[in-house]
């Protein structure tokens, strides 16, 4: 008769905080933090506390919708699945399996992402599977995979507390990774030094011991400057380098041409500040490097990550307690989606598609042949826009809002023969779809999320999805069975057993063992306790590799027509494309209007006051938004968040890609602002 309490994981960022939902008569009526959770320890951020607000929102999709004559009409599930399979078969027949593509989601569970890529590879015979890691930590997977052997975070979040130095490059953790920020502050309370490298004076920069405000896109020169100084002063951990790394000589040769002075010219940070930072980092007994989109979302994103790895390896700060390289994953299960093989070139467990033995194991287990050649990445396909891909199955993604060069994305999706989108709300992408399938949100399904510190945690179903909506696991199984595939699982835990049998990293992970604290992969067998710190004795690839980071400036530098550098990113009370947070009344009330941060000098010479409406234009498009005059951004720089569809930042961003990982350059493009109208007088 009274309410129940269900323990689950927060659906927003990669911290994976523990959440307790209070449920009464099939409705979530309360949210409480899980006091004994290993990461969140009884705390939540503003989004975590209000995670329940969008669950029962009236806008939820409740029935499959088929577009005919430009209008959606409700159809039954069988009709929808039948129609979907028929349209995909027609595309395969006409253009071959390679014409089918799929976008899985970093907000769906591991099991759902696994089944999705299995359906695309087995059901449609195409490797064109991708997801929004392509827009964020693609370079990390590529670079750290090659340098260290694994693209994941080397230590745990709790490891920050006790380290001596924290170097945060290109990360606004105070706003985008709020709860683990407490660990950093606890470390500082104990005397650790917090150094923040960020063009903007973010909250974290204000509370840091030293802040290096570099010009956008000039991370490699700065890191090279630091590394050259460390080598010159002989602060490198030579014993560690000899014992555990290779390729050190090419790096030394490359760094000869670099110095703090040269770095200062390019990145605009004072040379002695570079020297001081390098010394602090090298001299401290333990140090953690954490980075995020500021490093990866550049044309030289992969090289940026190589530079970070080289710096850490140079000083021996990898594979030890309180020392490691920590890419902060932005979404609740982007780590899991990558682990589950949601990438065109990789099968579950980062086993290469091109590797015949690995592929044979999967074919033996799945009982059918798999496509040999790696698929196309979503950004490359959209950039090419050569109609190679004809029909796309999108699960839980909103590329129109998240992918760069919005008009280009819309044109690509419009040219498709068939587009089916599976989501919990209508978004800009579902409006372009031919078929829309209603899915279930985090509180309406069982499954597992993997957070940024590789901890696989259990979600528990609290309430039923609204109307005829089904959770993605059930939808995928019904679509697959309709295609004659053997997707018979009693419940998601059996899917995890299959994953464990195929991916060695998840070898020992069973629902029974996840309990309250989850397990950190790699967990090779049943009684393995999980691995808090990677690369302790040996790197996954044996010896760590020094890779020379080639520096290439942002594709689009400021010029007289577009004199300002536009940076895009997130703010503390909204999440990605705003599908969930803008439908949570509390968060929408916190910030309900888009804004662009402008430096006072840039604003004054254009006669812009705080709050005025301004038009931001780039070579790709223009938006009208409100100006927030503040010195959080440096001069000659503006910052826009991309949560607001009424002023979509992705209409401005540059779709130039990083050559290796195809991640677009969100963090730097040239723009201009013009005063539109005075601030509304209220």
């Amino acid at each position: 008769m009274g309410p129940e309490f269900v323990k689950t994981v927060c659906p927003y960022c990669g911290s994976g905080c523990g959440l307790i939902l209070m449920v009464r008569d099939g409705k979530v009526v309360g949210t409480y933090p899980d006091r004994f959770h290993p990461v969140s320890r009884g705390a939540l951020c503003i989004k975590g506390w209000t995670a329940k607000e969008f669950i029962h929102h009236p806008d939820r999709l409740t029935a499959p919708l088929l577009k005919s004559g430009g209008r959606f009409k409700e159809i039954s599930w069988d009709e929808a699945i039948g129609h979907m399979n028929e349209r995909f078969d027609r595309t395969i027949a006409q253009y071959g399996a390679q014409a089918v593509g799929g976008l899985c989601s970093a907000r769906c569970t591991n099991e759902e992402n696994y089944l999705f890529q299995k359906l695309i590879r087995l059901g449609f015979g195409s490797n064109n599977v991708d997801h929004c890691a392509r827009l964020c930590h693609g370079p990390t997977v590529a670079a750290m995979g090659r340098a260290l052997g694994s693209g994941a975070m080397t230590n745990s979040i709790a490891d920050f507390d006790g380290t001596e130095c924290i170097l945060a490059i290109g990360s606004n953790a105070a706003e985008t990774f709020p709860v683990p920020m407490g660990e950093l502050y606890r470390a500082r309370e104990r005397g650790a030094r917090l150094i923040v490298v960020d063009p903007r004076t973010t909250e974290m920069a204000k509370n840091a011991d030293s802040h290096l405000p570099l010009r956008p896109g000039t991370d490699i020169p700065l890191l090279n400057g630091m590394m050259s100084h460390i080598l010159k002063c002989g602060l490198a951990d030579q014993e560690y380098i000899d014992r555990r790394t290779e390729g050190f000589d090419q790096l030394v040769a490359y760094l000869k041409g670099w110095s703090p002075e040269r770095a200062a010219e390019i990145c605009g940070v004072a040379p002695d500040l570079i020297r001081q930072t390098a010394e602090i980092y090298a001299r401290s007994r333990s140090a953690m490097v954490l980075f995020c989109m500021g490093i990866t979302q550049h044309v030289c994103g992969t090289s940026n990550v190589f530079a970070v790895c080289d710096l850490a390896l140079l000083c021996g700060h990898v594979g030890k307690d309180h020392s490691g390289i920590c890419p902060l994953r932005g979404q609740c299960n982007v780590q899991g989606a990558c682990d589950m093989g949601g990438l065109p070139a990789v099968l579950p467990g980062y086993q290469q598609v091109a590797d015949i033995q690995k592929r044979n194991r999967f074919e033996a287990q799945w009982g059918a042949a798999l496509p040999q050649t790696p698929g196309q990445t979503v950004t490359a396909a959209m950039a090419a826009n050569d109609r190679q891909i004809r029909s796309v199955y999108v699960m839980g993604e909103n590329p129109v809002m998240s992918d760069p060069n919005r008009s280009h994305t819309i044109e690509f999706l419009k040219n498709l023969d068939f587009l089916v989108v599976q989501d919990i709300f209508h978004t800009d992408t579902t409006r372009l779809a031919d078929l829309v399938l209603p899915a279930a949100c985090f509180a309406e399904k069982d499954g597992t999320f993997t957070n940024t510190e590789r901890r696989v945690q259990l979600l528990r179903k609290a309430v039923d999805p609204p109307g005829q909506a089904l959770d993605d696991y059930t939808i995928l199984c019904r679509v697959a069975r309709a295609r004659g595939l053997d997707f018979t699982y009693a419940d998601p835990s059996e899917v995890m057993d299959e994953i464990a049998s195929l991916a060695p990293l998840y070898g020992g992970i069973r629902y029974g063992r996840l309990g309250s604290e989850g397990l950190q992969w790699p967990c090779p067998d049943y009684d393995h306790p999980g691995t808090p710190v990677l690369h302790r004795e040996q790197f996954s690839r044996g010896q760590a590799l020094f890779v020379v980071p080639e520096y290439s400036p942002p594709k689009e530098m400021p010029d007289e027509r577009y004199p300002l550098v536009l940076i895009t990113g997130r703010m503390f009370c909204h999440y990605h494309t705003g599908t969930m947070t803008r439908r949570s009344p509390f968060l929408d009330r916190e910030t309900d209007r888009p804004f662009v941060e402008v430096h006072p000098r840039d604003a004054s010479c254009r006669g812009i006051c705080n709050g005025d409406a301004i038009r931001v234009t780039t070579r790709r498009g223009a938006i009208v938004t409100a100006a927030r005059v503040t010195d959080r951004v440096g001069e000659g720089m503006i910052f826009a968040s991309f949560h607001f569809s009424e002023a979509p930042a992705d209409a401005l961003t540059n779709d130039a890609l990083d050559p290796i990982s195809n991640v677009p350059e969100f963090k730097a493009c040239a723009a201009e602002i013009v005063r539109e109208a005075a601030c509304p007088d209220h």
């Binding site: 006051c609 709050g611 005059v629 007088d681």
Partner: protein, 603 residues
């Protein structure tokens, strides 16, 4: 009234008094830059008739907006300016007088630069207060044409007679069996030597003669509900209970004489009696002989009762004269700390007492007189300050001049009176409005007179009774009254609190803190919610301060108006607010409040 209504600003030079210090050019420029003011005009002396009205006409000629006047203070001419505008059709709620003379020009004559900046800020704060001002709800009360008088002493009877003669129906309630109160227990009434009956009988006859007065003796007021204009009174007596309604309540419950227990061996020695016992003896037994010593200020004017009872000295003089008349040979002495005999008639009593042979000895409270005698009083020993030596007096009888104390000590002891919002002062006497409002109390429609208000002689009590009657008739005379005009000390009540039931969580803070019991909790469909009695509310704002989320507010000065005034307080002069103490993010929030650009603020 919305905050987007246009605002016209009218500044007054006051013939150089203001613009001698404040630079009107700069002031006008700053105000004209502000987009929230429709027009800014300057007059020489707005209080001279015609000038303000003409300026208001041409400014408000288009759609009638609000008028912001930058001139002198409210107490100086501000009120007159508002009244002037009210005559030509602009209601009080649409006008705000910002004081830039007493509050700025005259205070800072030697700092013209800062005075100008301060004047700009004062006008701007006035503008935000005016923009965000709303109008409180006002209710009309149907007034019951009846007056209830509680207490049948001289004050109550005088009030009843005065009201009854004016044609108002009166209910006179007396707990004891008969009217007259203290008069029944006095032989003679000071000043002069009129007998108590001489005062009492005409009053009783007058009450008999007026049919409008209904007397209820032996009756107690058990409960009073409702508020000014419509009190619902329930009476209780031995014969049963009754209910009646009344438009106004006059409290004349008097006070009770103090029994000086523990003072001067009262209660141990026979012969040591209190003043009231002497009255009883004189009333009955004409032949009272023997030496008598009056000791004044018994158990009063000390830390427990730090006030003078004003009755004991005149009574002592009157009785001393009486004793001398009965037995001229007796020695009558008045031992006192001071003799309080204000006015010519009491002074005459004093002279008659000395003429009759009574002698006066002054003692200091540090060593009071000591009574001698084992079971019957024989004499007293007192150190006479004036003579500087101790004197020994023979006495057959010692009369203690005792004080009068209130019937109740604190509010909580008297639920009937607290329910209607009547409060007691620190000594327990009912509290009247300070400053010139002798008989009005904090509760609208409730008046107090006689010793219930403060110890007073009989003639004073009767005078206060008539005053209370006059005030009560003023309220009861109109069949319908506006709740906002019930307050004694203000022409119009400042505001009446307003509750927004959707945001109120029913915590009861406002009900607990309201000084007038005007705010209470009532059951609604979504639980307990606060509710305001629009008649009792005086607009002080205690409830708004106690309410944690501002569900109850004063519309005339709401939370938005207060915050906007604070924000506009120091805007002129290009203030940057990334301040040392606060030290947090500077004021570049997404809202439109940025004071960097020449102080243009948008609220």
């Amino acid at each position: 009234m919305k905050h987007t209504d246009p605002v016209d600003c009218i500044l007054c030079r006051c013939h150089g008094e203001i613009d001698g210090v404040v630079d009107f050019g700069q002031l006008q420029k700053q105000l004209e830059d502000d987009s929230r003011l429709r027009s800014v005009s300057v007059g020489n002396a707005l209080c001279l008739d015609g000038e303000l009205e003409s300026l208001a006409e041409c400014a408000g000629g288009r759609r009638p907006g609000k008028v912001l006047i930058g001139a002198c203070s409210f107490l100086a001419r501000g009120d007159a300016l508002i009244a002037g505008l009210e005559n030509c059709g602009i209601s009080r709620d649409r006008v705000f007088v910002a004081d830039i003379r007493e509050g700025c020009a005259w205070l800072h004559a030697d700092r013209p630069g800062k005075a100008t900046r301060k004047a700009t800020d004062i006008v701007r704060m006035g503008m935000t207060a005016l923009r965000h001002r709303e109008v409180s709800a006002d209710v009309n009360i149907t007034v019951q044409p009846r007056v209830l008088v509680i207490g049948g002493g001289p004050a109550g009877m005088a009030a009843a007679v005065a009201a009854g003669r004016a044609g108002v129906a009166v209910d006179l309630v007396e707990t004891s069996g008969q009217l007259g109160g203290m008069l029944n227990r006095l032989s003679r009434v000071a000043p002069g030597d009129r007998s108590a009956e001489a005062i009492l009988t005409p009053l009783l006859e007058a009450i008999q003669a007026i049919p409008m007065i209904r007397v209820h003796t032996g009756t107690r007021v058990s409960e009073i509900r409702g508020s000014a204009g419509d009190f619902d009174v329930s009476l209780a007596s031995k014969t049963g209970s009754a209910r009646l309604s009344a438009g106004a309540v006059i409290v004349a419950t008097g006070a009770k004489p103090v029994l000086p227990n523990g003072q001067y061996r009262y209660g141990q020695l026979s012969g040591v009696i209190s003043g009231m016992e002497l009255e009883k003896i004189l009333k009955v037994d004409r032949s009272v002989g023997g030496n008598t010593v009056f000791i004044q200020c018994a158990d009063v004017r000390n830390s427990k009762r730090p006030y003078c009872s004003a009755i004991c000295c005149p009574a002592a003089l009157k009785n001393a004269i009486r004793l001398k008349e009965i037995d001229p040979g007796a020695e009558v002495t008045i031992v006192h700390r001071d003799i309080m005999t204000p006015g010519h008639r009491l002074e005459a009593d004093y002279r008659r007492a000395t003429a009759a042979g009574g002698c006066f000895i002054r003692f200091s409270p540090e060593n009071p007189p000591r009574i001698e005698g084992d079971n019957r009083v024989t004499g007293i020993r007192v150190t006479d300050i004036l003579a500087g030596r101790e004197r020994h007096l023979k006495a057959d009888r010692v009369v203690l001049g005792t004080a009068v104390e209130p019937r109740i000590k604190t509010d909580r002891d008297d639920p009937v009176m607290t329910a209607i919002g009547l409060a007691a002062d620190t000594h327990g006497f009912y509290r009247v409005q300070p400053f010139l409002h002798t008989v009005e109390t904090d509760a609208a429609g409730v008046f107090v007179c006689g010793t219930a208000r403060w110890p007073v002689m009989v003639d004073g009590a009767m005078a206060q009774g008539k005053a209370a009657a006059a005030k009560a008739m003023d309220l009861v005379a109109h069949p319908v009254r506006k709740a906002s005009r019930l307050i004694g000390f203000q022409a119009v009540r400042f505001a009446c609190a307003r509750v927004s039931p959707t945001t109120c969580s029913g915590c009861g803070n406002c009900a607990a803190v309201c000084p007038y019991n005007a705010c209470g909790l009532e059951k609604t469909e979504h639980g307990l919610r606060a509710a305001v009695n629009p008649v009792r509310c005086m607009g002080c704002g205690s409830c708004t301060a106690a309410c944690p989320n501002g569900s109850i507010s004063l519309p005339e000065l709401g939370a938005t108006a207060m915050v906007r005034m604070i924000e506009n307080a120091f805007t002129a002069g290009n203030l940057t607010v990334s301040n040392a103490l606060n030290g947090v993010a500077d004021r570049s929030a997404p809202g439109c409040r940025d004071r960097r650009n020449g102080g243009v603020v948008n609220q």
